[in-house]
Symmetry: D2
Subunit: 367 residues, 4 copies
C-alpha cells in the first residue's frame, strides 16, 4: 500500500500478512477443487502454497516508486523468481515444481491461474485486505464464495454460473479500489514525490554529494542497476532493503543542503504535499509553463529543479482485460462463456475499456 | 424477508430489528446534517424518529403474499398511516408532525426524503441487514459513509461528490440483492405457493368449508376486506395477525381434506417445493398446457385446481428510477447532477432500465 | 434461547443454526486432532458429525418449559436418542456408530467427549452464538483457539498448556452468560409464566374445557405422557410441535374464559410480565402469604389460582463441575492436571461451588 | 506494542490509531454522562478530547526499552506534559484546561479519571485494540457497554450495578492480555535485547566508537539525558525519534565490529532470539554462573560482555490495585461499593495480589 496510510491511517498491514492470507485462500481453493473432483496431488498442493507464498517476494519497499527510480528496469516478478531460484538451491530443488507453476511452464495451466490470473488468490486476498484496513467497505469482496464457485474445465479455471454476481461484484470492487484507494489523489502525490526523492538522491550521489543512507540503499544510489547486472550479490543487497531504509533516509535528508531533496523530503515527512488536480483532458502546456516560471522565480532555481515540483502525468485503470485473461463462466448446461457476455443487463463492457485521467501537481503557495 | 429462510437459513431477523436500525441511522443522519449547518429542530428530529420507527408498521405477516391474496387491495403504506393516526389519537396529537413528514405534506421535503426516497434510512438499513443475515456479502453497503456524505441543497437531499462510488455501490448492491435474495427462485416458488394457500383457503371458506385458523386469520378468510371497508375494527384485528397465525394455519391444513390446500401446505412445511424455470422470454402456451394436462390426468383434478400447481409469472427489477426520485450529486463547484450523469465511465443507465424475466412453476414429478 | 428475545431482541437464532454450527466445529476438531496424530477413521468422523448434528433433536419448543409442564418426566436426551434410532432404521443402520458414540458406549471415550463433555462442540457453539446474537460481548469465547489446543491422551480429551487462559476465559464466559442471559430475571419470569400457561391449559383440558390449539399440542394437553408411554406414535406427534404451536395457542388463549389462563397468556404476549425479586436468601413465608392474600382479595380467586401469579423458586449456576467431567491441561512435560489446579493465581475453585439464588414473582400492581 | 509483532504478526497498529480511538471513546463517554444529567461544559469536553488525544504523545519509539536505556530517568507522562505545554504556547493557551485535567489539578476529579484511572478511555481503547490486532480474542472487552454504564457520584466516576459483569470481564481481560501478550515470553526476550542494544550502543559511543545512526538517535547516544537537562531543545530532538530511527540503526549495526552489539542486533533483525525460561521461583546463582562461564569460554569474551547474553529478571502483573484507584459500583439503592466487594462469588481479591515471576535468558546453543 506504499504511502496510502497518509490517506487511510489504518492501512498499516504488511506484505507478510498478504502472503499468509494468499496461502490460506490457496488451501481453501485446493480443498474446493478436490471436492469437485479435480485431482491435485499433494506435491502440486505444496508447490501452489510455496508459489503463492513467495509470489511477491521480489517487491522492494515502496515497490512502484523504486521501480520508477533506482531499479527502474527490473520488474518485481523477475526478482521474485531470482529469490525462488536461490531458495530452491538452498532447499535442494524442492521448489522446482513451484517455480514451474509460477512461470506458467507446468503443463496444468489452471494451477498457474490460481497464482496469476483474473481471479487469482493474490487479488482475492489483497482486495479484501486493503478494503478492510482502509475502511473502504465498498471494496470488500466475497473471496470465500468466489473460491467456492471455482471449478476447472479443460485445464482452465472457470466460475460456476451461480457465482456470476460475485464476479461482477469483484470486478466493480476492483475498479472502485483503484480509483478510491490505489490511485487516490493524495497517495498519487505522495508516491510521485517519493519517486522524485529517490531520483534526486541518485542524481546528487552521481555528482559526488555525500548522503546519509543505509548501506543497502547507498549501494542502489551509487550503482546503476539494470536487469543485466542484477546479480546474486545485488539480490543479496536488495533483500536487505525495506521501508526503514527509505523512510530513515528521507528523515535524514530533510536537512540536506540541496533545496530540491530537502523540500521533497519535508513534504512527505510533514505530510505537507503538493497540490494535485485531476481531469479527463490533458493539461495545457501554457498552464504548466506558468506554474514552473512562478516557482522558478520565487526560489531562484533552475528549470530542471522546478520540474521536480511542477509536473504532469496520467493514471489509468481497466477493471477487466477481456483479451488477456478471461473470467469464464460455466453454465449448468456445460457451456462456457466470458463474463462480459454472461451478464445480461449490466454493462460490463464499459469496464473493459481503459479509463485514462490526467493530473498536474504543483506547490500550494503558487496556486 | 418472508420465506427467504428456506433459502438463507440465517435470515431470521425481524421487522422490529429493522425499525430499530432505521431509527439509529436516522439519528446519525440528523447529526451529520446538523454538523453541516442544516437546521433541524428537536421537534423535527423527534418526528423523523417516530416516522421511521413506524414506517413499516402496516406490513402484515408475509406482507407481499397477503397483499396478493386476502387483503389484496390495501397497500401497507396506507395501513401504516392508519396505525399512526390511531396512535396519534392516543398520544394526543404528538405524532402530527411525524405524519405530515411521512405523507410528504410538511414543507421541508428533504425530511420526507430521509423517510422515503432513493437513499432513505429504510433502504440503508434493510440492504445492509439482509446482506448480513443472508450472508450474501456482495450486497453489503456502507450506510455509515453514505450518511456522512449527505447534505441538503434547496430543500433536496444530495450526496457530496466524494460519495459517488458509495452511491454506485449502493445501486449495484441493491440490484444484486434483488436478483440473488429477494427474487431468488426458491423464495419465489415459496411465496407463490403461500399466495395460493391463502387464496385457496379463502375459496374453501367461501364455499362453507371449516378451516382451523386463529381468530384473526379467520376474520380475513371469512370477510372480503378492501380499502373501502378497512375500518378501525379491521385494523385492530389486522394488528393481531403475525407469522404465527399463518404458519400454524398451514401446519394444520397439511391434513386438510382438500387436495389442493393440503398439497400446497405440505410443499411449504416440508420444503418440498415446485420446480421453477426462469427465462428472458415468455413461456409458450403449449408447454404450460402440456404440464397442466399431465398433472390433471395424474391426480384427476379440475383445470382450475391444476392451475394452483402449474402457473407462470414475471419478475422485474429496476435498480434506479431516474424519473421518479433522483439521487443528486453535489459537486464541489456547487453544481448538482443526477448520479447517472455524474458517473463517467460506468454505465448506470443500464440500471435504469427495468429488467423483466419470466418464470414457470410446476410439480417435480411431471417434469 | 426460549423467550430470551423479550430481553435481547436480537436473539432470534434457531436450533438449526446451532446444529450446523456444531457440525462445523466438529469438522475443525477432527482436522486438528488428526493433524496432531490422533487417528480418527472416516467412519468415526461421519458418526461424530451425525451425532452432533442430531444431539439436540429431542428438544421440543421452549424445551425447558415443556419439560416442566406437559412432558415433564421425559428428558430431551432420551427423545434425541429415540429420533436417532428411528432415523437409523430408515437409513438401514448407518447411524449405529453415531448412536454408540452419543451414548458413550463406543470404546473410544474422547469421541463421546467431543459430543458431550466440559468442552464439547455443543458448548463451544452455543456460548459463542448466544453471545453474538444477544450482543453480550463479554460472553464471547474463542472457540477456534480452544479447538486448536485440543489433544487426546490415553483416550481422554485434553487441552494443551498454551490454552490455559482460553479455558479460564471459557469458564468465566459460561458463568457470565448464565447470570446475564440464560438466567436473566426477565427471561426467568417469562419462562415461569410459560410453564404455568401450559400447566393451566392441561388442567383445564383435564376438566373438560375446550381450548383451541394445534392437533399436536392438543394431543399433549389431552394425554398424560411419561417416559413409559412415549411410543413411536407419540414421537411422531412430538416431532410436529414447534414454537408456532405454542405461541399461536397462547395468542388464542388471551381471550380464554379462564381468568388464570387468559391473564398469564396476556402477560407474555403483551410483554407485561410479573415483577421479580432475586436474593441470596430465601423469601420469608409471611411475605409470600401477604402477596397471595392481596391478589386473592383483589380478584376474588382461589388460593390455588393465586399461586399461579405469586410464587417463589431458586436458580443456581455452577460454572465448573470438578468431579464430573474434568477439563484436563496437558503440560509440555506430559503431565496432566485439572484446570482448577493448573491456574496458579486465579481462584477457579470459586467457580466449582454452585451458587444458588432465590426469587419471588408477583403481579406489579400489588407490590 | 513494541516488538510484539514478532509474536503476533497482526500487531502493526500505531499510537496514532490508539489516540484517535481514545478520543472517539471520550466523545461517547461525554454523551453518555450528559444524558444521565452530569453537566459537562463544551470547554470541558474540548479539554477532555485534547487531553486524551495527547496523553501518550511523550512515548518515544519502543518506549519502555528507551526508558530503560537511553532516557532512563525520564518518564513518558512528564514528556507528554512538556509537549502539551509547548503546544499550549503555540496555541495561545487553548490547552490550559486540558493540561489541568491531565495533571489532576482541575477541581472536577472525574474528568481526570476519564483520562487516567482504572477505567479510563486509554485502557478501554488499548485492550480492545490490542486484542483485535493480535487476534487474542479472549482479551476483548465491551468498551461500549462499560461506557454506557458509567455515571458520576460525588465527583467520582462509578459504574452502575448492571455493569458488574462487564467490569469483572474487563479486569480479567486485562490480566489475560498481560500474561498472554504484553509479557509474552518472546516479546520479553526481544525487548530485553533491544534495551541491551541501546545500552551497548551508548557504551560504545562513550568509548569513542563511531556508530551509524540518525541525527536524533545519535544525540541521545552521545548525551546523557536526565530529567534535569531535558530542555525544550532536547524535546525537539526527541520528537524526531521514531521506530524508523531505532530499527534502521539496528540494521546498520548488524555488521558492527563489536561482537556484542552485532550479535544482539542480528538476534532481533533475524528473529533468532535468546532462549527464555520463566518460573515462579528465583533462578539459582549457580545455574546462571554456569551459563555465563560456558558462553564466555565459547566466544572468549569478558564477564561484562557475556552478561549481555545471559541475564535474569522479573515480571509482575497486578490486574487491580484496590488501594490506588478503585472501581466503584453504584447500586440502585445508591450505595457505592468497591468492585472487589461487589462481586459475590468470584474471587476478585486474587486479582488484587501482584503476581511476580522470574525469568532467565541465555543463548540457545549453550542450553
Amino acid at each position: 500500500m506504499g504511502l496510502s496510510y497518509l490517506v487511510y491511517p489504518g492501512a498499516h498491514h504488511t506484505r507478510f500478512h498478504h502472503a499468509l492470507g494468499c496461502m490460506h485462500l490457496m488451501q481453501n481453493a485446493v480443498r474446493v477443487l478436490r471436492f469437485k473432483g479435480v485431482s491435485i496431488s499433494s506435491e502440486e498442493e505444496d508447490a501452489l502454497c510455496i508459489a503463492i507464498l513467495l509470489h511477491d517476494i521480489g517487491h522492494g519497499p515502496f515497490s512502484h516508486a523504486m521501480e520508477h527510480s533506482i531499479v527502474n528496469e527490473v520488474n518485481h516478478e523477475s526478482i521474485s523468481l531470482m529469490f525462488m531460484e536461490k531458495i530452491n538451491e538452498e532447499f535442494n530443488g524442492s521448489l522446482t515444481l513451484a517455480i514451474q507453476i509460477f512461470k506458467g511452464e507446468y503443463d496444468r495451466q489452471f494451477l498457474h491461474q490460481l497464482i496469476s490470473g483474473q481471479l487469482d488468490m493474490d487479488r482475492l486476498d489483497y482486495l479484501k485486505r486493503d478494503s478492510f484496513y482502509t475502511g473502504v467497505a465498498e471494496g470488500n469482496i466475497n473471496s470465500e464464495r468466489l473460491i467456492t464457485m471455482l471449478n476447472v474445465v479443460d485445464d482452465e479455471l472457470v466460475v460456476e454460473e451461480k457465482g456470476i454476481y460475485s464476479v461482477e461484484k469483484f470486478l466493480l470492487a476492483r475498479r472502485l479500489m483503484y480509483w478510491q484507494v490505489y490511485l487516490h489523489k493524495t497517495s498519487l502525490v505522495a508516491e510521485s514525490l517519493l519517486i522524485r526523492v529517490l531520483k534526486r538522491a541518485k542524481e546528487l550521489v552521481d555528482r559526488g554529494v555525500h548522503l546519509n543512507a543505509s548501506k543497502a540503499l547507498r549501494f542502489f544510489l551509487e550503482n546503476k542497476i539494470t536487469a543485466d547486472n542484477f546479480t546474486i550479490e545485488v539480490l543479496e543487497t536488495f533483500s536487505k532493503l525495506d521501508d526503514y531504509d527509505i523512510v530513515s533516509a528521507m528523515k535524514e535528508w530533510t536537512t540536506s543542503e540541496d533545496f530540491v531533496l530537502r523540500s521533497l523530503c519535508n513534504m512527505i515527512i510533514d505530510r505537507d504535499l503538493l497540490k494535485i488536480k485531476i481531469k479527463k483532458k490533458k493539461f495545457g502546456e501554457a498552464k504548466i509553463r506558468k506554474r514552473i516560471d512562478e516557482f522558478k522565480g520565487k526560489y531562484e532555481i533552475s528549470e530542471e529543479e522546478a520540474r521536480y515540483f511542477v509536473f504532469t502525468g496520467t493514471i489509468s485503470n481497466q477493471a477487466y482485460h477481456q483479451n488477456k485473461q478471461n473470467i469464464n463462466i460455466l453454465y449448468k448446461s456445460s457451456k462456457i462463456v466470458d463474463i462480459v457476455s454472461a451478464t445480461d443487463q449490466f454493462n460490463l463492457k464499459a469496464l473493459s475499456k481503459p479509463v485514462t485521467k490526467y493530473f498536474i501537481c504543483y506547490p500550494k503557495h503558487i496556486d
